[in-house]
Symmetry: C2
Subunit: 255 residues, 2 copies
């Protein structure tokens, strides 16, 4: 069994209002590739956010008193902290240089996933928020691929995230369409007939992480990776979405 | 750019004392594959533990008073809890059904990574500990491949782990040889010349997760995955090892 991860080379810069579907299909052709049933298309959050114009000019932000106080504590720009708070349900951990929040969508994420790198600041200092609704963005692209090419694929939007206990970021799923994010083996049996109890693999995260390896953060020239060979059980999109990956706060021992 | 993950089909059952290097090289040939410079060989922890005979027969374990008390609290077998404690520095979180510890090697891991699935219990009830020193196991295999085939590869031993905040397990690295586990981009510049500040990608974990997708937990017939196409910067093995992935407890906000 073989899984192939193909990074689309020379992907053009994405600007607000760009039609990502058209750009992705063109890049696939330009790379001599094609899409077929059961492929998984992994897309970097950043280009989805850019196409959806999730930019905010920092000078347009008026920080609240709470943001100003918190900004002093974590040694960050109060306008930036204001945006983090607006994008969040609550602060999970903070210390100088570190602001980890529960994003309004349920991800635990440093700075609510708001990014300052790989952004053109030549006009004004601006930052880039996560997509408004990454599951919906993924589902739109999935449907667009199905309608244009007739191929039933899955789409994952990934983002580099820090984590507890271990150093380094990992590309993880923030939007999922066309597949179950978790491959739930509970109830199945192992090689020796013993029932598997807690084996639920976060396959969308594993695919997101694998694709992340070749996305290349510095140049950002390969923000789309085509995954072929993963035996994707194609489900109705009703069952897709990232929510199964997000542990409910009440169940979480680390928040 | 393309990364190919090839799972070695029909890998034989591994028994204590088996020579994993010989088995892996034979399986690569039997699968019509070959190894070359810069390949990454990802190996499931379970077959490394089995080859190293990290089995423990539960009846041979006498639980301490502390293990008996803790076992009652977490509703687990006191002999099993005794082994978890022996393999651990300390308990990180506990509740009925859940026992998360810091493993003696520094991983935060449920049950210290001790596993009861995919083990033949026909003789006596036994469990399987993590390898004694996964970095050393990975390095032995890496050196064996270099000496046998002349190929400079990296070796990652991976294991499925739970995590904070998100559901589902992820295949992550517990042993690394022949590569830097973290691709540290600090000091490099982004597309617009802004210095990348905190972009250190945990590439060994991303490769471990990607390979995990096709390893298949239920059948355990593909515990070895050959990764080709990742632009591996081949380093002296002195710089390899999993330790860069493990956040020091003092630096960790979630322990």
């Amino acid at each position: 069994m073989e899984v192939r991860l193909s990074a689309l080379k020379d992907f053009p810069m994405v600007e607000p209002g760009d039609d990502l579907l058209t750009m992705i299909l063109a890049a696939i052709r330009a790379n001599g590739l094609f899409i077929r049933d059961q492929d998984v298309v992994v897309i970097a959050q950043k280009i989805v956010s850019k196409a959806e114009n999730r930019y905010v000019i920092l000078d347009s932000v008026t920080p609240s008193a709470a943001a100003i106080t918190l900004a002093r504590e974590v040694e960050k720009d109060p306008r930036f902290v204001e945006l983090v708070l607006r994008e969040s349900r609550h602060v999970v951990r903070k210390k100088p240089g570190v602001l980890i929040v529960e994003h309004r969508l349920g991800f635990v994420h440093a700075n609510a996933g708001i990014d300052q790198s790989n952004i053109d600041h030549s006009q004004a200092e601006r930052v880039l928020l996560l997509p408004e609704n990454p599951d919906a963005s993924a589902e739109r692209l999935r449907q667009g691929i199905e309608q244009t090419l007739g191929a039933r694929v899955a789409v994952i939007i990934n983002d580099s995230m820090g984590r507890a206990w271990r150093n380094g970021t990992l590309g993880l799923a923030i939007g999922v369409a066309g597949m179950d994010a978790i491959d739930n083996k509970i109830g199945q049996h192992d090689l020796f007939g013993r029932e598997l109890k807690v084996t639920a693999a976060a396959v969308a995260d594993e695919l997101a992480a694998g694709a992340s390896v070749i996305m290349g953060q510095t140049t950002e020239k390969t923000p789309v990776v085509l995954v072929r060979g993963y035996p994707l059980p194609l489900k109705s999109s009703v069952e897709s979405g990232v929510r199964n990956l997000l542990r409910d706060e009440k169940q979480d021992l680390f928040r």
